[in-house]
């Protein structure tokens, strides 16, 4: 009886991904990497990868002599686990102000057709952003000048007394996420928060629905649903 070290190395690569998916699923951190519509991918990946890794590693003890692993196997293993190492180096990262600049260009009118106009829910940032571009959506959702609103978002730009707050909406994952932004006029005496800082804003819809006149801007922790 001896160990097949090539199989051990490959099995470790599978196990690393299985543990990563399990952790994303159990900890809820998966929402940082997949959109709400594709959360099932995490559950499937966690269960399937764990099963495959266990079955594969069960065969590491062999009877017949096997070749020792080649150094290239270590390189291949390195490529396979590289994303996990990177995720460990910088945990809990999300798309921020830099990504807003890179991905800017989405028009709210396209999103307007996908959004519900159900008035029961509080208005969210992306709905305000869509209402800027689509008068029909604003009317259907009941968003009008002077309306009181409360929402969260992160700071993507500062221009004196006005900050731009943004939120991403992802279909599958952050790779396809598009940013939606709205300008917020800060109340007197409130200093502009730094870029990427999440804030909770209370205020009212400004002229032509193009901005929000804030009465309070409070810094908050990053919410769980960053791409919804």
């Amino acid at each position: 009886m001896r160990l097949d070290w090539t199989r051990v190395l490959r099995g470790l690569g599978l196990l690393a991904w299985a543990v990563f998916f399990d952790w994303l699923w159990v900890s809820g951190r998966g929402s940082l990497y997949v959109g709400p519509r594709t959360e099932w991918v995490l559950v499937f990946g966690a269960i399937a990868l764990s099963t495959v890794a266990v079955i594969y590693l069960a065969g590491v003890v062999v009877r017949e002599p096997v070749q020792p692993p080649r150094a290239i196997e270590v390189g291949r293993l390195g490529v396979i686990v590289a994303p996990i190492i990177l995720a460990a180096m910088a945990p809990a990262v999300t798309l921020g102000a830099q990504a807003v600049g890179q991905k800017r260009g989405a028009d709210g009118r396209a999103l307007a057709k996908r959004l519900s106009t159900d008035g029961g829910q509080p208005v969210r940032l992306y709905e305000l952003a869509v209402a800027k571009a689509s008068a029909d959506f604003a009317r259907a959702r009941g968003i009008k000048v002077g309306m009181k609103v409360e929402f969260d978002g992160f700071v993507s730009k500062s221009k004196g007394r006005v900050i731009e707050l943004s939120r991403f909406m992802a279909s599958c994952c952050p790779a396809d996420a598009l940013p939606y932004s709205i300008d917020v006029e800060l109340p007197q005496g409130v200093r502009a928060p730094p870029a990427d800082q999440w804030v909770w804003v209370s205020g009212e819809v400004g002229p032509k629905r193009q901005s929000i006149r804030a009465v309070a801007v409070d810094e908050i922790e990053q919410p769980d649903d960053v791409y919804g």
Binding site: L14, V41, L42, L86, M89, G105, P174
Partner: protein, 469 residues
């Protein structure tokens, strides 16, 4: 005379090594006390015995490098590279040590530890290369030189594990996540892999099930069918395979290996990511109220046409010329049965494809981080130029075919024709797929595929634009 000359040469080489070692040690010690000369805070406070520990700690990586060089455990080339890295890392650390921010000072104190780990890593890799090298000449960088079949060595494992651990700790200590570009790159790269890997797994599972459970006679029966039935049949089978483009590659590869005509395998691979029900449904949802029916029909129609044409033209070469040969897989099933066989095939396929998905995701993420989307979408274009621009964008973004409709519909400055090109071309050829295809079918495949699909997609998009516009 020759023997004496050789002895003199060996002595000279030993002396040179010792001199280099001494120079490294002296430079390290000198650098560790140099802040008294060039940093204000150190000049103001002057030397105190309390600082001695810090000076020694800063010099430790240099002393380690010096020791390894003196003992001949590190080649002079590696020693020179390490020395340059140590100097480049130590100077900012010394500069940070006089900071008024406690956090910066703490980070500076940790730097020599990271540098020491780098020296150990360099030793491990150098020792591994020396042990594994056949003879003295290292010709691995030459294409015509046979690569020595190196085995894993203990120094290599120490280096890899050590450097990995140091990278993780350093990433956290220096707050890699606070660097904007790193943040965007990491999120996009990791998310593409997390999203794609389960689909690759699903494709690998289907591939393994085909390998283990479908008997040869079934493939023999399929391969006896006339090609004009096989190819369209395989194309339409894409309706029954609700996975993204990453999952269809291993299935097509396995089908071709088992005897299905390459054209049929390719038709399935290229059609299924465009015409599967989930993709078509997502297109309907995205284009609701904006000509959803026309867009869905055009996407499915053009997808099938492109798949048929590419498969027929490229698939004419036999399986031997199409599938890239891979190292034989050694599975030790014994009597463990078919479950184990499925797991073995699945794992091999997943690990093989997974590497290329990961590299492709990294490239796509790098492009998204560096090139702003407005570079492509912010210009006023003609339908033809717009089609080409959106095809380039589809190649770069490497989106999942189940999500790309939501992105395409947001490009409202482009007419429907270019949007259709984006929807058809992306699932057939993008950065991650190019790597996956190269690994599976060889280097020429991507070029051949591009040559066939690009004109057909452009023509289809223009026709659609002409009819709809």
């Amino acid at each position: 005379v020759t023997v004496e000359a050789r002895t003199v040469l060996v002595h000279a080489r030993d002396h040179a090594r010792l001199l280099l070692s001494a120079a490294i040690a002296l430079a390290g010690i000198g650098l560790s006390v140099s802040p008294y000369l060039w940093l204000d805070a150190w000049q103001s406070y002057g030397f105190a015995f309390d600082y001695l520990g810090f000076h020694i700690w800063v010099a430790v990586p240099f002393l380690a490098l010096s020791g390894l060089t003196a003992l001949g455990r590190l080649s002079r080339a590696w020693a020179a590279v390490c020395f340059a890295v140590l100097v480049a890392g130590t100077i900012p650390a010394l500069d940070g040590s006089q900071s008024l921010h406690e956090h910066t000072v703490e980070r500076s104190v940790l730097v020599p530890g990271f540098l020491l780990a780098l020296v150990v890593g360099a030793w491990g890799i150098d020792a591994h290369l020396r042990q594994g090298a056949a003879g003295r000449g290292r010709r691995w960088f030459r294409r015509d030189a046979a690569r020595p079949d190196r085995k894993v060595t203990v120094p290599l494992l120490i280096a890899v594990v050590g450097l990995t651990a140091v990278s993780i700790v350093a990433g956290r200590v220096f707050d890699l996540a606070s660097v904007d570009e790193a943040q965007t790159f990491l999120v996009i790269a990791t998310s593409i892999v997390v999203e794609a890997l389960p689909f690759v797994l699903l494709g690998a599972l289907v591939s393994a099930l085909i390998e283990v459970f479908v008997p040869d006679r079934a493939f023999a029966a399929v391969s006896r069918l006339p090609l004009r039935l096989q190819v369209p049949g395989a194309c339409l089978a894409g309706f029954a395979m609700p996975v993204c483009e990453c999952g269809s590659v291993p299935v097509a590869r396995r089908l071709i290996i088992r005897g299905v005509h390459p054209a049929a395998g390719l038709a399935f691979m290229l059609a299924s990511p465009v015409i599967n029900p989930i993709v078509l449904l997502s297109t309907v949802v995205a284009y609701q109220g904006q000509g959803a029916l026309e867009m869905v029909l055009a996407r499915a129609g053009l997808g099938i046409v492109v798949a048929l044409m590419a498969a027929t033209i490229i698939g004419r070469m036999g399986a031997g010329g199409l599938i890239r040969p891979q190292a034989p897989e050694h599975h030790h099933h014994g009597d463990a049965g078919r479950v184990r066989a499925v797991a073995d095939h699945l794992s091999s396929e997943l690990l093989f494809m997974g590497r290329f998905v990961i590299v492709g995701a990294a490239l796509a993420a790098a492009m998204q981080t560096i090139v702003p989307q407005s570079f492509f979408t912010g210009v006023l274009t003609t339908p033809l130029l717009g089609t080409v621009l959106l095809m380039v964008l589809a190649f770069i973004l490497s989106l999942c075919s189940e999500a790309d409709a939501f992105i395409a519909v947001s490009f409202i400055q482009f007419p429907p024709g270019p949007q259709l090109a984006f929807l058809v071309f992306g699932p057939i050829l993008d950065i991650k797929l190019a790597l996956l295809y190269t690994a599976t079918f060889g280097r020429g495949f991507v070029l051949r595929l591009a040559l066939v699909t690009i004109p057909v997609v452009i023509a289809g998009a223009m026709l659609f634009q002409g009819v709809i516009g």
